[in-house]
């Protein structure tokens, strides 16, 4: 269900953007890359804040730009919401009037998001009468998100909305963003250079480098692709979508199911049936050839080797599948040699620890 | 060698002390702006003959008057009217009874357009113009005389709505010269061609003296110049036949 087709070419001399991508019309798509990789430029081109001389953009079947036919919808005519790195609230208006600014300019609000709903979702009900100058950085950004959301846009664009916030403020906002994802049907395009935010938010991941798309696909696929630099990173990890199946109160553990198996996690405060994201760092995964008879590690799962590559500093990156979930393991090159790991081999993985993302 | 190096300056100082009348002095003169052209020539001739220097400051008579009363260092004052010098004598800024008429102002009804003003000034009665320029009669002598002329011709009230007033006679000339005012009362000195005594350009009517009271321009020796040989010399020179011929050449009348 591709609903966003974007093709842009632009050349600033020292910076070039050349992308041609199809993005899903639901969930959170994260544009990830280093600064200068073109992710923000791409987002601005989609918003019409920047005009690529050559470009084609179609969102939900309507063409926003087609340079060949001379079509270019100005930003204010595009049914989008945009959250900037700085909140960019209007200093002369109260929070309430900031929120109403866009709403007043929409002829008919046909969508499902209502302002009070958005206000509740972002928890800013108590700030409505204040002016932007009286808000904390995190509060300002929450207002900015609400302001964009209240327009009930066909697509929500966010350009590093957390980059200017400290860790504590980030943690204050990330849950709201995850919640958006679960409660609203608006596709979100999210630019970041933070792996943490990728792991926590992305359904689809687009990796950008030097103005080009290096990889694009569902998060687990891209995370575990050996040809993408992400897999080599010390922080390399895979994120699994799991569902809570059982609480083992005595052991202070929670059991979760994923497609093709189950995991034990330290107790999670959530109801059975709730959906969770679990991140497994590649460095926390070890490989054994036979099911260990006795181990202190709880999560030992059957897996199949699907690929391997040389990693940094004597490391090997092993790609495996567990059930239908991809998994990365960082082991030493010597271990890989000793185990004589081959593609297609059936092995067991021991997962030392996991982290819950939401 | 040594002797001449020391002797020469000593000798020079000695000579100056002995014959003060030969010393070249400088006189600072405030001059009404309508007298700019003749005074420039008079000063040049004065300097050539007497070896004194005359530094001239041109401006409106009223401005110079206010400056003198506030202690401006002028030594001789050539006003465009009689009012200011007499006032200065009365208030003690000028040497008593030092005033004298140096010139009689001549007025021209002038237009930059050739043939526009007839040589009898009938146009003032026939009209047909949008603006007539004159110097501001509230303070500028030329303006006072211009109003007097119009009054005597019986056209003052009719023409008053068409007045545009220059702050001084130079500005009045600019109004007319740029064509913004169709015609105006200017000083003859401003439009005369000194080579032939006729109007340099445009058309005009030199106002006969009987249409207004005597337009006497008065000079006075100021207290500051009382002991300055150059100031005294200049006052004398202004009355000399040489100066009088220059004054006449520029279209001014001469005192009796």
């Amino acid at each position: 269900m591709t609903t966003i087709k974007a093709r842009f070419q632009l050349d600033y001399g020292d910076f070039k953007l050349a992308v041609d991508l199809k993005l899903p019309g639901n969930g959170i798509t994260v544009l990830f890359g280093h600064s200068g990789s073109g992710k923000t430029t791409l987002l601005r081109c989609i918003a019409g804040l920047q005009r690529a001389p050559q470009g084609f953009l179609e969102v939900n079947g309507s063409v926003w730009q087609d340079s060949e036919r001379g079509v270019f919808l100005p930003t204010h005519k595009r049914p989008l919401g945009y959250v900037f790195q700085e909140a960019n609230l209007f200093a002369h208006l109260t929070v309430r009037d900031n929120l109403r600014y866009g709403l007043k300019r929409i002829k008919h609000n046909s969508g499902t998001v209502r302002l009070d709903h958005a206000v509740d979702l972002l928890g800013i009900g108590h700030l409505l009468e204040r002016r932007p100058g009286q808000l904390s950085g995190g509060e300002r950004q929450r207002v900015a998100i609400t302001r964009a959301l209240a327009l009930n846009p066909e697509i929500l664009l966010m350009d590093e909305p957390l980059a200017s916030l400290d860790f504590k403020r980030k943690q204050e906002i990330l849950p709201f963003l995850s919640r958006l994802h679960q409660q609203l049907a608006i596709p979100l395009l999210y630019v970041t250079h933070s792996q943490q935010e990728v792991a926590q938010l992305a359904d689809t991941l687009v990796i950008m480098e030097d103005g080009r798309v290096q990889a694009l696909g569902p998060l687990p696929d891209i995370q575990s692709r050996l040809d993408v630099a992400l897999a080599q990173d010390r922080e390399a990890a895979t994120v699994w979508q799991v569902i809570i199946s059982e609480h083992e109160a005595d052991y202070h553990l929670t059991r979760v199911e994923f497609s093709g198996g189950s995991l034990s996690l330290p107790r999670v405060d959530a109801e059975i049936g709730a959906s969770l994201r679990v991140r497994i760092y590649a460095r926390d995964v070890s490989i054994v050839l036979e099911a260990p008879a006795a181990t202190s590690i709880l999560n030992v799962l059957p897996a199949t080797v699907t690929g391997s590559a040389d990693g940094q500093a004597g490391q090997s990156v092993i790609r495996l599948v567990v059930g239908s979930q991809a998994l990365l393991a960082h082991i030493t090159r010597k271990s890989a040699r000793l185990l004589d790991l081959q593609v297609g081999m059936a092995v067991y993985v021991q997962i030392k620890c996991t982290s819950i993302l939401n | 060698m040594l002797a001449s190096r020391f002797l020469h300056p000593i000798l020079a100082v000695g000579l100056l002390l002995i014959t003060p009348s030969l010393r070249a002095e400088t006189v600072l003169v405030a001059v009404a702006s309508d007298f700019t052209r003749p005074m420039t020539e008079i000063a040049a001739t004065f300097e050539k003959i007497t070896h004194h220097t005359a530094k001239l400051a041109f401006g409106s008579s009223g401005k110079a008057f206010a400056q003198i009363k506030s202690g401006a260092p002028f030594e001789v004052y050539l006003s465009a009217s009689e009012k200011y010098p007499l006032e200065l004598e009365k208030s003690g800024f000028a040497i008593a009874d030092s005033h004298f008429i140096y010139a009689i102002g001549k007025l021209v009804l002038w237009s930059a357009i050739p043939g526009y003003v007839d040589n009898e000034g009938k146009i003032l009665t026939t009209g047909g113009f949008k603006h007539i320029a004159l110097a501001d009669s509230s303070h500028a002598p030329y303006g006072v005389v211009a109003e007097e002329v119009m009054k005597n011709l019986g056209v003052l009230d009719k023409l008053r709505p068409l007045f545009v007033m220059g702050e001084n006679i130079a500005q009045t000339f600019q109004f007319v010269n740029t064509g913004n005012a169709d015609l105006g009362f200017v000083g003859l000195a401003q439009v005369i061609d000194i080579n032939n005594g006729k109007l340099g350009s445009g058309s005009g009517w030199i106002i006969p003296d009987n249409l207004h009271g005597p337009f006497r321009q008065m000079a006075v020796l100021l207290k500051t110049g009382a002991k300055n040989p150059a100031a005294l010399a200049l006052v004398d020179f202004l009355k000399s036949p040489t100066a009088r011929s220059i004054i006449e050449k520029y279209g001014f009348g001469l005192p009796e």
Partner: protein, 228 residues
């Protein structure tokens, strides 16, 4: 005491200054906006032209305006062709001259304010469905309130105080183009010092009151200069 003539010139002065200020804001705002946003190579040239009235002595500026707007001048021929006649010695002519003379005092504070607002607020407004004109009036204008007040105050004050230009272009016509600065000057030239003091005093008191009110209003304005 003030004479009827004096009162007339006072009223005329404030009329001229008010209308001139209005014209200056109407003209200066788009000009300042363009100067604040453009990267055009013309920017420096236009900036220099706007500042030029600061360099020329007012009487010199007035003289050239007199020449330009006169029957032989380019502007004069144009206005005549339009059927408006020539501008010198008329109230509109006085205002045209005043606008030119005070232009830098309005354009420069506005330009500084507009530059300080930057592009972020405008981009945010664009993503909130505001078109360019809408953005200007709903975001730029309210955020620039202090700049507009400063520009209006300077433009007004500078026009009230002008002398050289109005003297040249206005023609000093009582009730039509004789403004208070000229009237004070006339009093001084005519040695009517008492009248001059009264008029100058009234002008100062009135202007001070206007400025005081405006600055007080400005101080209590809770408008932030930048975007938070």
């Amino acid at each position: 005491m003030l004479t009827a003539d004096d009162l007339e010139t006072l009223l005329l002065t404030f009329k001229v200054a008010s209308i001139t200020t209005l014209l200056l804001l109407l003209l200066g705002t788009p000009l300042a906006w363009w100067l604040a946003r453009t990267h055009s190579k013309w920017k420096s040239i236009i900036n220099a032209l706007v500042a030029l009235p600061l360099v020329l002595p007012p009487t010199v500026l007035g003289f050239y305006l007199l020449v330009l707007m006169g029957p032989a001048g380019v502007v004069g021929q144009f206005t005549t062709w339009l059927g408006l006649g020539t501008l010198p010695f008329t109230l509109p002519g006085l205002m045209v001259a005043s606008v030119l003379y005070s232009l830098p005092f309005v354009v420069q504070p506005l330009q500084a304010t507009f530059s300080a607002i930057g592009g972020h607020a405008l981009e945010a407004a664009a993503t909130l469905r505001a078109g360019s004109l809408d953005r200007f009036f709903s975001v730029v204008v309210p955020l620039s309130k202090p700049g507009f007040l400063t520009a209006a105050i300077l433009g007004f004050a500078h026009t009230v105080g002008e002398f050289g230009v109005v003297l040249m272009v206005g023609g000093n016509i009582p009730g039509k183009t004789r403004v208070v600065s000229v009237q004070i000057y006339n009093h001084v030239e005519a040695l009517e010092y008492a009248e001059a003091h009264w008029l100058a005093g009234s002008l100062l008191v009135f202007s001070f009151s206007v400025l005081l009110i405006l600055y007080t209003a400005l101080r209590t304005q809770p408008v932030a200069h930048s975007l938070k």
